[in-house]
Every structure is written in structure tokens, then in C-alpha cells.
């Protein structure tokens, strides 16, 4: 089987030893190289080094560190779409990836990623193997991610996963969003009714720099907040309220409106094809310019929440 035979192939490798990870990865990559597929290795620096050494030292593909390419799920998906398009255009028959998404760093975001990627990369000639260390990742997390993978590799055996759940079903079961503890603290900016987007930007911009986050993250957060408030003003119910919390290394904002909101946790994730400015582009910008975007409903109304920095 190769990465070009019928779109996205999405495996989970549950390994119990380093040698298990290394041997499985090396064989997978050798088969890919033989089939003229491009290769991407995206595990921890130590794992990358061990796999490359076992491969023979001259690894014929891209090597990225897990944390680098797996910060924002929507960004990661688009990066893969672009990479595959580019490699196929240059003659590759497909793309093979072995990667650690680092799920424990931000379980909500990466659980969603593991589900949505089945749809977003569906037509692309890519074979991805997501690696999970059974000694390190919590059991309930392992059980959840298993549901997002159509194939499972364990103890040297690769099998179709009978318990695989389609993205919508998976998210209903596993994507739970609730208030964060910080939301119970007094916000640093509170706008009881957002009437002017420029006034909101003007109120929030000066204090966001106090987070100490890089300028680019701060600017991206403001763009994301603007689009969230725009979405609420256009599609939600008035009044639209905004709250922002600034902590060292962390920015959090909520935009509440009196409307019914939108259902589904997939809003704003990339589609299978990159079409400029398709409907929903505002939420797509939100997903890509902040670290996490969630929605939930409380007595106060529909809440859209964004966070950058500070972990989940």
C-alpha cells in the first residue's frame, strides 16, 4: 500500500518501547522512499535523532520538531495541505508522516485536530502515523485518540479500527468545553455592549502587551478578537459583550451574544480545499491566529472564547 492509493490514510501507533517506535517508523519510511513518496518526521528531537540514526543517518525527508509544527491545529492542517500540493507537483507520489502531536500539551485542541484531519486531508495523498507512547500518555487520552483513527498499529500489527468515529460523532463524544477558572476572575477589560469594533480594539490593545507575549502573538490575538466580535455583531444577538484577561504569558478573551450561536466544534477549521475567502473565513482566521478557540453556552448566552499562550 502507498500514500497515493485513495486519499488520506490515518494511523495511530500505540508503542510501548522506544525500539517499537523506531523500528516501525524506519520500515514505514523505507517503504515510502521506495514508492517515491516524500517523508516527514515530526517527533521529539530525541526520537527524531534515534529514528534517523536507525534509518542509516541519511534521512531523505523533512525533519521537524513536534512542538514547532503542532502549535495551532488549523495552521498545521493548512501547512500539510500546502506541503502535499507542493511535493506532488514536484513529482512525489504521496507524502508519509510520522509525528507526535503532543496531545497532552493541549488535549482539547489536539483531540479536535485528530478528528477534523480525517475530513480536511481526506482527498490528499498522505499517510500519517500519529505516535502515542503508552507509558506516558494517560489511558483515557489513549482511548479517546483511538476513536479518531481509522487504523491502529499496536504490538507490530496494523488493523482497521472498528471503533473509529467520524469527526462529527467523535466531537460529540469527546469535545467537551466548559468555563476556565480564569473566567471567574475579574476581567482586565469588560465591554458590556460592543457597539464599535475600533473601540474594542482600542480598549484591548494597550493591555495585551502586558502579557509579555511576542508582538506577533499579541497582534494575532487582536485580529482574532476582532473577527470574533464581528461574527457576533453580524450573526449573533445583541447585546454583544466582550471580556479580556491578561496574565503573564497568556491572553484570554470571551465574546458573548444573545443569539443561538453555531453548533459543531468544526467551525473555522480548514476545508478540504483552500478556497480564498469562502464563507466562514472570519472563524478560519480566528482558528489560525490564536492558540485555541472554543464555544459553549451558559445562562449568559452563547460564548466564543479564544486563548493564546499559557497552555490549556
Amino acid at each position: 500500500m502507498s500514500a497515493r492509493s485513495g486519499g488520506y490514510i490515518h494511523d495511530a501507533l500505540f508503542y510501548g518501547s522506544d525500539s517499537d517506535l523506531i523500528e516501525t517508523s524506519v520500515k514505514f519510511f523505507r517503504d515510502g522512499a521506495t514508492a517515491n513518496e516524500s517523508l516527514v518526521l515530526g517527533c521529539t528531537p530525541e526520537q527524531n535523532a534515534a529514528i534517523i540514526e536507525a534509518y542509516g543517518g541519511d534521512f531523505p525527508g523533512r525533519v521537524v520538531e513536534a512542538g514547532e509544527s503542532y502549535r495551532r491545529a488549523a495552521e498545521t492542517i493548512v501547512a500539510y495541505q500546502r506541503l502535499i500540493d507542493s511535493d506532488v507537483q514536484r513529482g512525489a507520489h504521496g507524502v508519509r508522516v510520522v509525528a507526535d502531536v503532543g496531545i497532552e500539551a493541549n488535549p482539547d485542541e489536539w483531540l479536535r485536530y485528530e478528528a477534523i484531519v480525517n475530513r480536511a486531508l481526506g482527498p490528499y495523498p498522505i499517510w500519517g502515523v500519529c505516535v502515542y507512547d503508552k507509558r506516558r500518555v494517560r489511558r483515557e487520552m489513549l482511548e479517546a485518540v483511538r476513536d479518531a483513527h481509522p487504523f491502529v498499529v499496536e504490538d507490530g500489527v496494523r488493523e482497521p479500527n472498528g471503533g473509529y468515529l467520524e469527526p462529527d460523532v467523535f466531537l460529540l463524544k469527546h469535545a467537551k468545553t466548559s468555563r476556565l477558572p480564569l473566567e471567574d476572575e475579574a476581567p482586565d477589560v469588560e465591554m458590556a455592549e460592543v457597539r464599535s469594533l475600533s473601540a474594542l480594539r482600542e480598549a484591548v490593545a494597550p493591555i495585551t502587551t502586558l502579557s509579555g507575549l511576542p508582538e506577533r502573538d499579541v497582534t494575532d490575538f487582536l485580529y482574532a478578537l476582532n473577527e470574533l466580535a464581528t461574527n457576533a455583531l453580524i450573526h449573533g444577538g445583541r447585546p454583544v459583550r466582550a471580556r479580556v484577561w491578561v496574565r503573564p504569558g497568556r491572553l484570554l478573551a470571551t465574546v458573548l451574544d444573545a443569539g443561538e450561536g453555531f453548533t459543531g466544534s468544526l467551525a473555522g477549521y480548514p476545508d478540504t480545499a483552500r478556497k480564498p475567502l469562502r464563507p466562514g473565513s472570519g472563524l478560519q482566521v480566528v482558528r489560525r491566529l490564536c492558540d485555541q478557540f472554543d464555544t459553549y453556552v451558559t445562562d449568559e448566552g452563547f460564548t466564543a472564547r479564544i486563548r493564546t499562550g499559557g497552555g490549556a
Binding site: S198, D220, T230, R274, P276, L277, G282, Q284, V285
Partner: protein
């Protein structure tokens, strides 16, 4: 590609030329009218405004100037500020006569101020728009500046769009401005959901009259949201489909990032010139 900024550094230059004022609120409009009149007085201009007598709603020009302390300034120079009834102001040949008279009396230039809704009531939509185009003709060879106050909501959208098409290099919205330089249209300020429909009219107007290349200088744009980007893409779609190119020059790094997130950099006929390319 290297495109130099060519905007004048004089703040009063923001208030010269044939301008369309698209203020969102009465307060914004008041600030703009006050600044425009003050700039005219500084430039030794005679200012003539179209307004019928007896306006008592607080929006009379004289009330605006009194509230902002500019009436005293105007009183220093006799006949520097004059009111004409709307019908007289828009009568054929009136503006031309105003210019000749003011210049013969020693004024350095003439500034005319009119409310679009009043003009539309007097002349009808088409008649008013024709009169506005006539102002452009009169400006050839004359030191004539004009501020046309449009209040979106008070007049139909097609008239607002046509008005913007008459002044593509002179839009003064609450948050964004446009100016024309030798080789580009310079955009300044912020574009978000509150003003992107007006920005869209501006983009469509520019594309309607463009040759093969339109250069939009984003050097002074401090913010643009997704709606503003959509206005550029949709408003230029026909122009680009016929082989035209839109160059976005001098966008800030955060605007470049937004354009790339939206895959605008992959669209045929749009080129982003951010200094690195």
C-alpha cells in the same frame, strides 16, 4: 518593487481637494467639518456652504463652528465664511461665480461645503451627481476645494456608491481615508465591519475606471478585517478576470499574515508587495 510614499506631510493636506465625508455619527461629522473649515481659514480661503436659513436642529454649520470655537476665528476675516441657500448654491454657474468673486477679493482659494441629501432634494439624484462631477471640472485651473457631506443611511446606497466613485481619491470616512498619489491610491486608517461596505464601494469605483494595473498603497493602514479583504477580492474580481492586476503595496507584517491566512496571495491578479518581494 520600490514605491515611495508620496503623501503630503502637511496635516491640512488631508482636507484639500474634492472630498466625500462619510461620517458614521453626527459627532464624527462635526469634528471633520470643524477641521476642514479650520484648515481653510489657515489657508486664507473663502468658505462657502450650502444651507437654507433657519436650520434649528443644532446641525447648522454656524452652530457646529460655534460649539468648536471656530466661529470667532472665522469672524477675524470679513466674509471669510458665507452661507448660500441650497438652491442658489447649486444654480448653474454659481460655484464658478463664487470662485471668481473670492479670488478677485484677494482670497487665496475657495472652499465649498455641501450636504448631499440637501443637494439630492434640490436637484434629484442624477442631477446632484452630475453637479458633483461638474465640481471636478471647475477645479481644473482653479484653487477650489470641496467637501461633500454624505450621511450613509440618509441617502440611498447607490447614490453613496456613485458619490464615492466621483471622489475615489478623496474619501474621508470616520476610520479610513483615501488619497491619490502619482502612481497609487493611498489608503489610511482602519477598515472593519462598520465601514467595509463603504470601502467596497471605493474598491469597485477604482476598478471600474482602472487600466491594467491598480496600485493600492497600504502603508498607512493600521487595521483591516476579513470583510475589508473580501471587499478587495470581490470588488476586483471582474477587473482581474480581464487580465488586470491589483498590487497591494506596503502592507504591515500583520496585514500580510492575514492576507496569507486567507490565501489571497494565491489569487490570480493580486500581488502583495511587502518590501521583501
Amino acid at each position: 518593487v520600490s514605491v515611495e510614499h508620496k503623501q503630503s506631510s502637511r496635516p491640512s493636506a488631508h482636507w484639500e481637494g474634492h472630498l466625500i465625508l462619510l461620517s458614521r455619527t453626527d459627532a464624527d461629522s462635526e469634528v471633520a467639518v470643524t477641521s476642514w473649515v479650520r484648515a481653510g481659514l489657515d489657508a486664507r480661503a473663502r468658505i462657502v456652504y450650502a444651507e437654507d436659513a433657519g436650520r434649528a436642529d443644532g446641525h447648522a454649520v454656524v452652530d457646529i463652528l460655534t460649539r468648536n470655537g471656530v466661529d470667532a476665528l472665522a469672524a477675524l476675516v470679513p466674509s471669510a465664511l458665507e452661507r448660500l441657500p441650497v438652491a442658489e448654491f447649486w444654480a448653474p454657474g454659481a460655484i464658478e461665480a463664487m470662485c471668481d468673486e473670492a479670488l478677485s477679493e484677494g482670497f487665496a482659494s475657495v472652499r465649498v461645503l455641501a450636504v448631499a441629501a440637501d443637494g439630492v432634494s434640490e436637484l434629484g439624484e442624477q442631477g446632484y451627481l452630475d453637479a458633483e462631477r461638474g465640481v471636478d471640472d471647475l477645479r481644473t485651473g482653479r484653487p477650489l476645494h470641496a467637501l461633500c457631506r454624505y450621511a450613509p443611511g440618509d441617502i440611498p446606497d447607490p447614490v453613496v456608491a456613485a458619490g464615492i466613485a466621483i471622489h475615489p481619491g478623496g474619501v474621508r470616512e470616520t476610520l479610513f481615508r483615501t488619497s491619490r498619489t502619482d502612481d497609487a491610491l493611498l489608503i489610511s486608517g482602519e477598515i472593519d465591519a462598520h465601514n467595509d461596505p463603504l470601502f467596497g464601494y471605493f474598491i469597485e469605483a477604482v476598478m471600474d475606471t482602472a487600466g491594467g494595473l491598480v496600485r493600492l498603497d497600504f502603508g498607512d493602514v493600521t487595521f483591516i478585517g476579513v470583510g475589508g479583504v473580501r471587499s478587495i477580492v470581490r470588488g476586483s474580481a471582474d477587473f482581474r478576470s480581464k487580465g488586470g492586476t491589483v498590487e497591494l503595496v506596503h502592507p504591515s507584517p500583520d496585514i500580510v499574515r492575514l492576507l496569507r491566512v486567507l490565501s489571497v496571495d494565491e489569487l490570480k491578479g493580486i500581488e502583495i508587495r511587502d518590501g521583501d518581494s
